[in-house]
């Protein structure tokens, strides 16, 4: 039982990374009907930006220029990196996706893949091939709850990612901008004619998604403090799987599917040898899609499908 609980906590942590990244995929999809395949590498870049900001802040406060308590460093790191990565997301939208808005969707997918490669390579050129170590931002404390060990880090990761997802949900439900986004997701052609600025909405969607990816990157860096330029590829594709599994364009679905994917991966590794993890996890997903071809929370095909 305690093994099960322990793995449950690990799965929650692992799933929250997938969930945060999958939300970005899903949001872009619901507005622009295309998948931003550079998103995994935006996650990677976000982690590196977080690394840079955290190192700078720690150095500043160690030098005594500005004295910052460690919790403030953590908050500032997350905020700064989210903003910087959001700018990167808007830049990607402007350069790679806006010119292709009326092109076949697969062309935009190729652009996304290529932007991803450029981000990876740019990172290699800037920082070299050696992996970097993410600085420890909070002192690890381990709580023993009847044989189940929980670190304050894990709690923080799950809480932060859930509250970010919830915040986004509130933003989309209750603000004017969120209403514009929902309208755009409802009808991509007519709503711009009603005076909703599509370019601003698209840029904002990319910014929000990239900000969440940056948060995921920093949280990942805190849990597994070794960063390398190719870490985004696997995460990106798996979060893409989660976004589809949740039903495209559904933020709630993407969040839940991210956690489900995390659970499947962790529990498969618990029961079977870990080398079989991908095999079994993806066979399960294949089966789910065979029986629910439009995802867990998606709607069946409608007139909205734009090819």
């Amino acid at each position: 039982m305690s093994v099960f609980l322990q793995n449950l906590i690990n799965a929650l942590q692992w799933g929250s990374f997938y969930a945060l990244i999958a939300i970005g995929y899903s949001m872009v999809y619901s507005i622009l009907m295309l998948f931003n395949f550079a998103h995994g590498d935006v996650f990677m870049t976000g982690a590196y930006i977080g690394f840079g900001v955290a190192t700078a802040l720690i150095a500043l406060s160690a030098a005594g220029i500005i004295a910052l308590p460690s919790w403030l460093i953590l908050v500032l790191t997350i905020l700064f990196s989210m903003v910087l990565t959001a700018c990167l997301g808007m830049f990607i939208e402007r350069v790679g996706y806006r010119p292709l808005r009326d092109a076949p969707r697969a062309s935009a997918a190729i652009t996304g893949l290529m932007i991803g490669i450029i981000l990876e390579t740019g990172n290699l050129i800037l920082l070299g091939a050696q992996r970097v170590k993410f600085p420890a931002l909070i002192q690890p404390v381990t709580y023993d709850l009847g044989g189940v060990f929980v670190t304050n880090q894990k709690i923080m990761i799950v809480v932060v990612s859930l509250s970010l997802a919830l915040g986004l949900h509130q933003f989309i439900r209750h603000t004017k901008w969120g209403m514009a986004m929902r309208a755009m997701a409802f009808d991509y052609v007519v709503v711009p004619l009603m005076g909703v600025p599509i370019n601003k909405i698209a840029a904002m969607t990319f910014a929000l998604g990239s900000g969440l990816a940056a948060a995921a990157g920093i949280l990942f860096g805190m849990a597994y403090p070794v960063l390398d330029p190719y870490m985004g590829i696997m995460f990106g594709w798996k979060a893409f799987v989660a976004a589809i599994l949740g039903g495209r364009g559904s933020i709630l679905g993407a969040t839940l599917a991210g956690f489900i994917l995390g659970f499947i991966e962790i529990f498969v590794a618990m029961v079977f040898p870990s080398t079989l993890r991908d095999f079994i996890a993806y066979s399960i997903i294949l089966l789910i899609l065979v029986f629910r071809p439009y995802g867990l929370f998606g709607e069946p095909y409608s007139v909205r499908l734009r090819l």
Binding site: G96, A106, A109, I110, M114, T275, D278, F279, L289
Partner: protein, 435 residues
């Protein structure tokens, strides 16, 4: 035969110089290329020394010129003297006889004419790759890439799905073919002593190719059957999951070496074999997409419901397309394994996927020409830009993004490939009609 001056020539649309070469048929160009590569065989090294190059430039001199700029003039001179001048000169001199020969052959024995063209093309490739082993590998890998790209174009271009399963098909083919050749014809630590004498191996290699293709086609059922109910993004996920599953499965089967991979494949993917396979693949796929099946594929892409209403059996069409495409990907996988003589599951991952997709979309959707151009140009670029090291992976993606922005369906998309038109002679009336 008329003089080139009879040709209507709109100024500014074509180079004035090019006017003199407008009437050279494909046969003439191939003869010219043959002359160029033979010249390189005989006097290449002397000429290279003359223009102060240490050796014959391997891939058109890019590897020297990018690293050591002082070699640029020598390289340019070399390319002018060895490649450009003989090709243009011989092509122009042979214009009249080549036209006459092509005309006679195309009228009476078109099959012989195609055979002659292919033989010349093979001779050019053979002589060119004879200069050193690196060139040989590049040529083989490029031909294999043409096969993979073309087979992916059947799904992604002609049928309009976004399939990510080709690395998986290639992996299945590569492993199945390797198991056949290693188990039957070599003494290996994995499968023990050879069951058949190695001497007859090269003659039975087509069986290994077939085995690889068939295993890949059977694997394609996993993607083809869900494709009846799903389209678009969900099919993309299913095919992506298929690639992950194949890779993970191979990593867990210890008999074929697990994650360490499998080595010791006999060296039977020689240039003639690879060339023959590539030619057969291009021919068969071209006939397939121009047949009623190809039209059915296009109908499914453009509107599945309308296609169904117009008596297209969409399930049958999708099934055939997936199995057919996977078969060729599997054959390409076998060849690939026997060129490198080593496979491991990591080869067939997301990197491979990105490369193949890039080739298809760079070259052009729904077009055999496009696949050939895409595969050859991306492969050659990535080999020629090798001296740029890491910067290569900035340059090539940028190029692809630009192509996508300015030509969203690729360089040469939606163009029919007709070999019998390619081999026609060119005369003034022909040129007039076209311009």
């Amino acid at each position: 035969m008329s003089t080139p001056n009879d040709i209507p020539n709109r100024p500014g649309r074509r180079l004035r110089l090019w006017r003199h070469f407008q009437l050279v048929p494909l046969l003439g160009w191939l003869a010219g290329l043959l002359a160029a590569v033979s010249a390189e065989q005989f006097v290449g090294l002397e000429l290279a020394h003359l223009v102060e190059l240490p050796r014959i430039p391997v891939l058109f001199g890019f590897e020297n010129a990018l690293k050591r700029p002082e070699m640029i003039p020598g390289t340019v001179l070399y390319i002018l003297a060895i490649y450009l001048a003989p090709t243009l000169l011989v092509g122009r001199v042979l214009q009249t006889p080549a036209n006459r020969l092509a005309g006679v052959l195309a009228r009476n024995w078109p099959a012989v004419s195609i055979g002659l063209h292919l033989a010349l093309l093979y001779a050019v490739l053979h002589l060119w790759s004879d200069v050193n082993d690196y060139r040989l590998i590049v040529v083989k890998i490029t031909l294999i890439a043409v096969m993979v790209t073309l087979s992916l174009n059947v799904i992604n271009g002609y049928m309009g799905e976004f399939s990510c399963s080709h690395p998986g098909f290639m992996a299945l083919g590569a492993y199945a073919g390797s198991v056949v050749t290693i188990a039957l014809f070599t003494n290996s630590s994995l499968f023990g002593k050879a069951l058949l004498p190695a001497a007859i191996g090269p003659y039975l290699f087509p069986l290994a190719l077939l085995a690889g293709g068939c295993v890949a086609a059977v694997g394609a059922l996993v993607v083809a059957i869900p494709s009846f109910r799903t389209r678009g993004d969900y099919l993309a996920i299913i095919s992506l999951a298929f690639t992950f599953i194949v890779k993970s499965l191979i990593e867990n089967v210890e008999v074929v070496g697990g994650p360490r991979g499998m080595s010791g494949q006999p060296d039977w993917s020689t240039l003639p074999v690879v060339f023959a396979c590539a030619v057969i693949c291009v021919g068969v796929i071209n006939n397939f997409v121009r047949s009623i099946y190809g039209k059915a594929l296009n109908a499914v892409r453009d509107n599945e419901m309308a296609a169904e209403a117009m008596t297209v059996n969409t399930q049958h069409t999708k099934m055939v397309a997936f199995l057919f495409s996977a078969f060729w990907a599997g054959v390409a996988g076998v060849l690939f394994a026997h060129v490198l003589r080593y496979v491991n599951p990591g080869t067939f991952g997301l990197q491979q996927l990105a490369e193949v997709l890039a080739m298809v979309y760079f070259g052009g959707l729904n077009s055999v020409y496009g696949s050939i151009v895409g595969a050859v140009s991306i492969n050659m670029l990535s080999e020629m830009l090798r001296p740029l090291e890491i910067w290569k992976w900035i340059f090539i993606p940028l190029l692809l993004i630009l192509v996508m922005i300015f030509r969203p369906t690729g360089l040469i998309s939606f163009k029919e490939f007709d070999p019998f038109r390619l081999i026609q002679p060119k005369d003034a009336s022909n040129a007039k009609r076209r311009s």
